[in-house]
Symmetry: C2
Subunit: 327 residues, 2 copies
């Protein structure tokens, strides 16, 4: 590493598959990174040992003291207390006062937030949202995550659980889940993309998708469907159009309620480009009064897979966005 | 009027039927009030003359100088500029820089906001929301209005149009309106209440409603339906239950997105008491994950018809809630 005079912080993106740690400077540049499989370090002590290794590798303490450690986790947290209620898909992480544990062991200030909040913070502080102070962030993956930025700060709601765009109901009598009925993510999750395409192909629908997966429907992914749509395949286009209208229904409700300047869409499917964004913008326009339609923008996230890491580090800088309390 | 040492402000609740003006003190007490029929003073010059009369009657200038004039109007406004885009049901009020006109003529600071925002501000500063700093306000009338309070301030969104709860879509493929499809207020407006009851009665459904309106179905109002429900009438109860579930669908989405501490429900139908609030709370609980359900409260507004007047005055006090810019 070359000499560097910016302040730095450690971001830890704690995912269900991998734990990624990064040394990030105050302009959002990732200076160094380490990764481990979640399965290998999912015992709490092993997890903390991993953080210790990262700190040594990043030269924390010796060369320079980081502003703090920010952790993004896939589940419900109490940001103020740095407390994990429970994590989806990571056993043994229920009721964990993680920020306190990190502070005690490493003597650094620590912050714990929902992973999507962290991504949103990364995108808003250093990515697509840089120019906006009222923004909503949605990430399309297995489910649909979200976060709300108000006056340049991440808005966590009264009990730090706000931003659950995936549970916004778009059909009152839709499918029941533990989160309610007809939630957005029951319509637009990755599995749903694949399921809809598989069903159509099994029913004999012609499509370039068949060729793309060499007739093995198990190999269908949202990415292959995006590729087919980009080539003009009518089935794939129709699937994107249907998904886009579901997203537009929820985004219209979001716009009527809090009228952000921009809705930033991230996650794998958001990298599909115009095959997603063209119908999404069109349907949203159709679903809004012109006063609202003229003023709302929908743009793709730009930080890609680093958004989480960078956002976690941003939690630790006393940045304009999102670091009230906790220190 | 007895001597009074509080600061005062003038609130003007500019409705489609009546224009109500009030002298309000800083504790939210209405000290004096005047009312005129909107039809009689709807020319702009007549409207300003009415304000002049109110100022003289309230002793503004002579005895004490009010903190300012706050006006609530039924339509779209730009709060920062004190500018009316257009008013629903009041002809001739399109593109009116009202705050500037008031300032110029009377030399007082002036604020113009949407009437529901003003009601919400009144309820939040002086009514049911006094103890809360994260609140959402919904008012049930001909349509469904709403407002959002964040960190104790009215949140107007990026372009001062936020809070349109009535346009939140609860059914993606619902009825089309200029505001989109399946908006909440297409299901729970006053007319809808009456239409559903009328249809059921015409179809021969037994109900105490018949007696309450002496068999003249044209006399059905939301109030008679509430009365019947309070007496245990199954048809009226069913109507309230259906409406409550529609409200709950939108309120669940609101809760997932911004997680307020409380949702305050005002307007005529909200005065029905438990026949509305019992099913509303039950359906909302069913539509939320327990983490959210345990933390959200739904309570009735308490200021009644004065909420607007008091809230308009609150706009003019440099109160904690809602008076950024404009002065």
């Amino acid at each position: 590493m070359k000499p560097h005079h910016q302040r730095v912080a450690i971001g830890i993106d704690f995912g269900g598959t991998a734990v990624k740690a990064g040394l990030v400077d105050e302009t959002g540049v990732v200076l160094d990174r380490v990764q481990a499989a979640t399965a290998d370090i999912c015992a709490r002590s092993a997890w903390l040992d991993f953080v210790g290794q990262c700190l040594r590798r990043f030269g924390a303490g010796r060369r320079r003291r980081p502003a703090g450690i920010g952790v993004g986790v896939p589940g419900f947290v109490d940001f103020k207390r740095g407390y994990i209620y429970n994590l989806t898909n990571v056993p043994g992480w229920t009721r964990v006062p993680l920020a306190g544990m990190i502070r005690k062991r490493f003597g650094l200030s620590a912050f714990v937030d929902n992973d999507v909040n962290a991504m949103a913070l990364g995108e808003c502080a250093y990515g697509a949202g840089r120019r906006f102070s009222q923004a909503v962030f949605a990430t399309l993956g297995t489910g649909v995550g979200g976060a709300v930025v108000i006056d340049g700060h991440l808005y966590r709601g009264a009990y730090s659980m706000a931003g659950e765009i995936g549970h916004i109901s778009i059909n009152q009598h839709g499918r029941r889940t533990p989160e309610g009925r007809g939630g957005l993510e029951t319509y637009v999750g990755n599995m749903r993309f694949v399921a809809v395409a598989t069903r159509a192909l099994r029913a004999g629908r012609r499509s370039v998708l068949r060729g793309l997966v060499k007739n093995d429907l198990k190999r269908l992914t949202p990415k292959t469907i995006a590729l087919a749509a980009q080539r003009g395949d009518p089935l794939a286009r129709k699937i994107f159009d249907t998904m886009a209208d579901c997203l537009a229904t929820a985004f219209a409700s979001v716009t009527y309620l809090i009228q952000p300047e921009v809705i930033i869409v991230g996650g794998g499917v958001a990298q599909s480009g115009r095959v997603l964004f063209d119908p999404l913008r069109r349907h949203l326009r159709e679903r809004l009064h012109p006063f609202f339609a003229e003023r709302i923008r929908v743009i793709p996230a730009v930080l890609g897979e680093d958004a989480g890491l960078i956002g976690c580090a941003a939690l630790a800088f006393a940045a304009p966005a999102g670091t009230r309390g906790g220190r």
